[in-house]
Symmetry: C2
DNA sequence: ACAATAGTGTCTGTTAGACACTATGCC
DNA sequence: GGCATAGTGTCTAACAGACACTATTGT
């Protein structure tokens, strides 16, 4: 039996890799080496290969090969498809989004760069990557408002004020300090590192925290939002 | 330039069409006419054709052709993919879910049937349709708890007690009457039909309601859940 | 001592849910 | 009137957010 009686469809994966750095939400872009939009900056992606077990594996491979990144959090966002989104023909792209700490930024080479999402949206992106980025932002902002998602944007140790600041950057609005700390307590996704405090500041030192092992690849959720 | 330098991938759409009938959540199954699992009951699906503008259009076509249904609500659920999920080879299936009123049930022919989701999960389904159904149930239950999603399961006119009952079937637990009505008020997705009351009951007649036009193809959401 | 930020105690307004009440049909 | 269910009024407990207070560092 033939695999399909219909014309071949271009099957790819693309990844929206995000981080928060210098108080700004940033997206990883990769310079297209070939094909349509060659030389332009776009979301990193690749064709699905029959050596990939699943599309998710293809996304992991893409992150590793193109950006040299292994992300603790990688989730399917949605699938974008259609006859016109790729000039080469009918195409399907399964989109994943991933979050990493800004410390992973170092590995960026000349074909990879980080751009604030604001700039990326202003400058525009090839294919329908603009829509994809907007979709990713909506998802991440929404999910961050009732879960521990943003902990994946943190380095191995961090303070609660730093974590709150990252939440605020992602969600885009200030959060009440007391409410934030109560939610973090409830989510139980982070724990204090015994005896580890921030140093060198001219004020009371902040307790260092780390992501709890149980939640390092999983989310903790609450049904009442972190902000209203 | 060739469309892709990699082996062709089987590209399909499948639809999880749900309704609530006789107090039970039911899924539409279609008897497979050919290919693997021929003669077995599975989620209705089809190959993507290059005459489809997008995968969503392919899903709409599938609902129309295989079930004779046009659903007021159709949303992408997720994409299932991999080398082994289809015995014919590497495949991608973009899954959509849709909700309809039980009155649409009538059009079911001999190659279509409605099965309670409980039975479907017990009896099992071909391919990875079992996982897909579980994924759809999770999504629908979750989304119903903070939105007007279940209104798409209602006939053109219905009472609030009927709507509450449908919510309870979907979510799987009882809802406080006062809370439910307050939420419906807040969501503003339904409106009373002036002077239309249920008849023939031995008790106080219930007001008939209809879905507001603005929300007939859209959801209304609230950030605080309908149940806790 | 003072500046600066970390971290906590507590008050208040809002909301969800429990309960009980009233409303209105049919017998 | 009695029964059954529709629909509402109201009290209480839980929760979010505001505010103000205490804690702890470096200068």
């Amino acid at each position: 039996m033939t695999a399909t009686q219909f014309p071949p469809i271009i099957c790819t994966v693309d990844v929206a890799l995000l981080t928060v750095d210098e108080g700004v939400l940033k997206i990883a872009l990769h310079k297209r080496a070939a094909g349509p939009f060659e030389g332009e900056w776009a979301l990193p992606g690749s064709f699905i290969r029959d050596t990939d077990a699943t599309a998710k594996e293809a996304a992991i491979r893409t992150l590793a090969d193109k950006l040299g990144v292994v992300s603790p959090y990688l989730e399917q966002l949605a699938t974008f498809s259609g006859a016109t989104r790729d000039p080469r023909g009918w195409s399907i792209s399964v989109i994943y989004y991933a979050l990493v700490a800004p410390t992973v930024l170092a590995s960026a080479g000349t074909s990879t760069k980080w751009v604030s999402v604001e700039e990326a949206l202003e400058a525009g992106l090839p294919f329908d990557h603009q829509d994809i980025l907007e979709c990713a932002l909506t998802r991440i902002r929404n999910k961050s408002s009732y879960s521990s998602l943003p902990v994946f944007l943190m380095p191995s140790k961090f303070t609660l004020p730093q974590l709150q600041s990252v939440y605020e950057v992602v969600i885009g609005e200030p959060i009440n300090k007391v409410t934030f700390r109560r939610k973090m307590e409830e989510l139980n996704a982070v724990e204090p590192i015994e005896g580890a405090f921030e140093e060198g500041k001219t004020n009371r030192p902040a307790q260092y925290y780390a992501v709890r092992n149980e939640f390092y690849r999983e989310l903790s959720v609450t049904n009442r939002g972190i902000t209203a």
